[in-house]
């Protein structure tokens, strides 16, 4: 089972996304701020991180930057989620080291497509 780390501070969004992803057969780990996200990533080595960008303590951009500088976690793909549907926001996310980007509200089908694109096909 593929393991996804969802870093999201909004309780409803977290609950909804985690339940929907779980229904699709993913194992979900939760973090509610950037700092916790980094430590969970190090401990749990997820296959992918879905990162909200506006987070308390350490925001999503900074958390991604730190993850991408750390040898243990730099190989984990990060999918940025933000409410700002602006081209500039996408550039900012990619600059911080995110591997892809999607906007909220989440188009679930599109998000699933992006997740599948980012998780390397594991050897059978």
């Amino acid at each position: 089972m593929k393991k996804l780390l969802l870093v999201e501070d909004n309780e409803m969004n977290r609950d909804m996304l985690s339940r929907r992803l779980a229904r699709r057969g993913y194992e979900i780990i939760i973090a509610t701020d950037g700092e916790q996200g980094i430590s969970e990533a190090k401990q749990q080595s997820p296959d992918l991180i879905i990162m909200d960008m506006s987070l308390p303590i350490i925001d999503g951009w900074e958390a991604t930057r730190q993850l991408k500088q750390c040898a243990e976690t730099k190989g984990i793909p990060v999918l940025a989620l933000t409410a700002h549907a602006m081209a500039g926001e996408r550039d900012r996310a990619l600059e911080a080291g995110c591997d892809d980007y999607d906007t909220k509200p989440v188009d679930f089908t599109r998000l699933l497509g992006k997740i599948e694109n980012l998780i390397p096909v594991s050897p059978p």
Partner: protein, 666 residues
């Protein structure tokens, strides 16, 4: 010899009745009339002046005010300034100062004054008129406050919208997401009635999201906060991608969807997100208004004057539109008509946004439609949008060559057009040249402000929706800059917000699409003083009037006409012409009386009057016109060239010596 002294001579030597008339004018005038000495006391004052200053009578005023500088002016330096201006120009017009009334209250006055000298050029006295402009000043102050309030409101609006963007989407996220989740779960549990109801919640949520996105886009465009991001991409791939995304929507009502996206379309460099959104909007729109028909998306690459363009056409065989509907289709918050919204849904914003987006990236969106047959929307985008064009040019120097290549004479009025849309530049430039205006175009607010300072145009035509700095900010800067604040500004925009415009100091407000004759007449209204001279033709015979008009217009004069003396006086109130051409024999008020009336008003005294008459002029007629008119020409005997030469001579003289031109009679 001035007209005034000339008149006084007439009074003394010829006609004592006239003296009574003049005395009556002074006594009963609404404006204050005075003569004062350079050291600041009154030689003459009329009752209106005493009343403006709060004195019961002229005698009381003259008896009390012995030193104007200290007793009247709130700021005694105004009198010094007044005397300095008098020395330099021999006259002041609209000299505005706060003044103490007798009871100590302060009012604002405006003075029109000139100097009277003796033969040795020594100043004898000043004479002129005073108007109480307190009410106007109060209104101006209110406008200034309204402007500040409007700016503040505009700032909070932008901030509010930025917050809204986040605050509205967050709960919607939950509504859409949970309804989707529950729908899936209900499906698993076989709860079919829940599935359909949850589907409705989800659909309504998505619709609300679309509305919010649309409103926010429009708001961002209006606030000049919409950014452009350039990237190079393959056009055919982009079209296939767009087609794949929208095909479920487009094909929903039993429509067939065809796409023509040949690989030969090549690469384009522009804002991908905006092009995609334009196409989504156009295709979504086609799908909405077509039932069991055909929708086609076609791409074409063309070269025009060495520039590559991509044309994207969205054709549908849907309901189509009437010409009246076509005219309004790109307006925000307007669908073809209100019932459309009920029948077809949608925000009514998609096409307005599409139009604005396409313009922001140097293109445009056009439409052709036949009611009942379908519509074709064409998105026309330059293949390459340079980074420079998408940003305001920092200096004027690199845009200098565009400052009029056309060889028009420099006394024609210069119109500065500030609009990010180059197609508008071209359109306006072409038809204004035909109308005798020079034009210079700026693509951004900063460039516009720089050009305004540098070129001091006769008028500025300003768009509202522009990237980086929107029209309101440009307007605020223009009106706050003393160098350019007095240049009239006309808004030309698709945003109907006249109140905002007027509170920020706009002189006129016009909506796109441009209605040519209205546009030109508005420009004429503001450009005439510096531009082509205006000739007022007062003539009761329609044929002669038209003949005069066509003759004069060929020579680039602007003609204002009146068919009687009364109408002539009315026209003078709004337009001060360079010359008046006057017929003598007219109903209502004849030329003799008209000329007298004109000369009785100080602000009209300097307008040369040329009499054109078929009447045999008797010496009595001559005497009646003496001092009032510049020249008498005989209709028929005077050739077209002579007439034009007479007019031209008056105009140059009038502009050279506005106030002290001697009035002679031939």
């Amino acid at each position: 010899m001035t007209p005034w002294t000339n008149l006084k001579n007439d009074v003394n030597t010829e006609n004592s009745l006239t003296e009574t008339n003049y005395r009556s004018i002074v006594e009963h005038a609404i404006e204050g009339i005075f003569q004062t000495t350079p050291d600041g006391h009154y030689l003459l004052a009329n009752p209106a002046l005493a009343s403006i200053y709060g004195y019961a009578s002229v005698e009381e005023l003259k008896g009390n005010v012995k030193e104007i500088a200290r007793q009247l002016y709130v700021d005694p330096a105004r009198r010094t300034e007044f005397i300095r201006l008098m020395k330099e120009h021999d006259a002041v017009w609209g000299f505005e100062s706060p003044i103490y009334r007798k009871d100590g209250s302060v009012i604002w006055i405006s003075e029109n004054v000139r100097v009277i000298r003796d033969d040795a050029d020594k100043v004898l006295y000043y004479e002129g008129t005073v108007e109480d402009i307190t009410q106007r000043k109060r209104t101006e102050e209110e406008l200034r406050r309204a402007k500040t309030a409007a700016e503040e409101a505009s700032r909070s609006k932008s901030q509010f919208l930025a917050n809204m963007s986040h605050e509205l989407r967050t709960p919607l996220n939950a509504i859409i997401g949970y309804s989707e989740l529950l729908r899936e779960e209900a499906g698993d549990l076989g709860q079919e009635s829940f599935v359909s109801d949850l589907g409705k919640i989800q659909k309504a949520g998505k619709h609300l999201l679309e509305l919010i996105n649309g409103v926010l886009d429009i708001a961002k465009i209006e606030a000049g906060k919409m950014e452009i991001h350039l990237e190079a991409f393959d056009v055919a791939a982009m079209l296939s991608d767009v087609a794949a995304t929208v095909s479920p929507v487009v094909e929903k009502k039993g429509n067939r969807f065809e796409v023509s996206a040949p690989a030969s379309l090549g690469i384009m460099q522009t804002d991908l997100t905006k092009v995609r959104q334009c196409l989504f909007n156009l295709l979504g729109n086609a799908g909405k208004f077509t039932h069991e028909g055909l929708i086609r998306l076609e791409g074409e690459r063309i070269t025009e004057n060495g520039v590559d363009w991509l044309l994207f056409r969205v054709r549908d065989s849907g309901v189509g539109m009437t010409p009246a509907q076509v005219a309004k289709v790109f307006e925000a918050f307007t669908q073809a008509d209100a019932s459309t919204t009920r029948k077809y849904g949608g925000t009514g914003l998609g096409l307005a946004i599409t139009k604005e987006f396409s313009r922001m990236i140097g293109g445009d969106t056009l439409v052709e439609s036949v009611l009942g047959r379908g519509s074709v929307f064409t998105l026309r985008i330059p293949a390459e949008l340079s980074a420079k064009a998408s940003q305001p040019s920092p200096t004027v120097t690199n845009t200098q060559p565009s400052v009029e290549e056309i060889t028009l004479t420099s006394d024609q009025p210069l119109v500065l057009l500030i609009d990010d849309d180059v197609t508008i530049h071209d359109l306006i430039r072409r038809f204004l040249h035909k109308e005798g205006f020079r034009t210079v175009c700026a693509q951004s607010g900063m460039e516009g402000i720089d050009l305004a300072r540098k070129l001091q145009p006769s008028i500025i035509v300003l768009d509202v929706m522009m990237p980086t700095m929107d029209g309101w900010s440009v307007l605020t800067r223009l009106k706050g800059d003393p160098e350019v604040a007095n240049i009239p500004v006309v808004m030309l925009t698709m945003v109907d917000n006249k109140e905002m415009g007027f509170s920020l100091g706009v002189d006129d407000y016009m909506l796109k699409p441009i209605e040519r004759s209205g546009f030109v007449s508005v420009l004429r209204k503001y450009c005439t003083p510096q531009g082509a001279p205006v000739v007022l033709v007062v003539e009761d015979d329609a044929v002669t009037r038209e003949l005069m008009r066509s003759t004069l217009e060929k020579e680039e004069f602007i003609v204002v006409d009146a068919c009687s003396g009364v109408e002539g006086l009315q026209k003078l109130i709004t337009t001060k012409p360079a010359v008046i051409l006057l017929d003598l024999m007219m109903p209502e008020m004849d030329g003799f009386q008209f000329a007298r009336e004109v000369r009785s008003r100080p602000e009209w005294q300097d307008i040369p009057i040329l009499v054109m008459t078929a009447k045999d002029i008797t010496s009595e007629d001559r005497a009646r016109l003496d001092g009032h008119v510049s020249r008498i020409l005989q209709k028929g005997a005077c050739s077209r060239e002579e007439l034009l030469a007479e007019i031209s001579a008056r105009i140059t003289r009038a502009t050279r010596i506005t106030l002290t031109e001697p009035v002679t009679i031939s």
